[in-house]
Symmetry: C2
Subunit: 106 residues, 2 copies
Amino acid sequence: MNHSKKYSSDCGLNKVQKMVGGKWKLSLLWYISEETRRFGEIKRVFPDITQSMLTKQLRELESDGLLHRKIYKEVPPRVEYSLTKLGQRFVPILHSMSEWGESNLE
Amino acid sequence: MNHSKKYSSDCGLNKVQKMVGGKWKLSLLWYISEETRRFGEIKRVFPDITQSMLTKQLRELESDGLLHRKIYKEVPPRVEYSLTKLGQRFVPILHSMSEWGESNLE
DNA sequence: GAACATACTATCAAAAATAATACTAATGTG
DNA sequence: CACATTAGTATTATTTTTGATAGTATGTTC
């Protein structure tokens, strides 16, 4: 890795930032990491996020490979979100961030 | 911590997100964690960040307690940025994010 | 056959983040 | 006195992110 690339937008750090930088993404990952969650469940736990925004962020997390989205062919619809392997490998980082936040900030 | 607060904007995770969520902040922290850096040095290493944005982000990191800003009473001016204790405690998280990014993303 | 439930989608508006550009202050040097 | 140097500020765009609101599809239940 040359010097000009070390701090560029290609570096691991910036990729991570782009993937989980959204306003709600860390919390969503955390919540889904606890167990598989249905869309409506998530919506109820995060009442401040609008439905369209929730859909958008979940889909982005999915296309970034962090979440798996399982659609049941039922009516009314049923969609479950869970962490992928990649997402699971991110969970320890979530935990250290949370802990750092809780224990260091007022 | 009650359930309504667990995923609220008060939780550690969201505080962290607000503090380091800026487009350049993770990289800036990383660069400054390596050693104390002068403003102009940072500017040269991150040519894509405008000067006003750089100032803004560094000041935010300072007021969030992650960076220390040392002003030398000289002309031309000399300002050095370094990590605070709090910032230093964040460095391991930076490393794990970087590693996760490097090793898991194409 | 009307209402219900769920997970959406589509538009448009508002707010927040970032960028572009130009300007400033102060002093040592030639 | 003009000029270079450094770390800024100020102002105005532009872009990106987020929010508000309304509408859709469809099998099941009443």
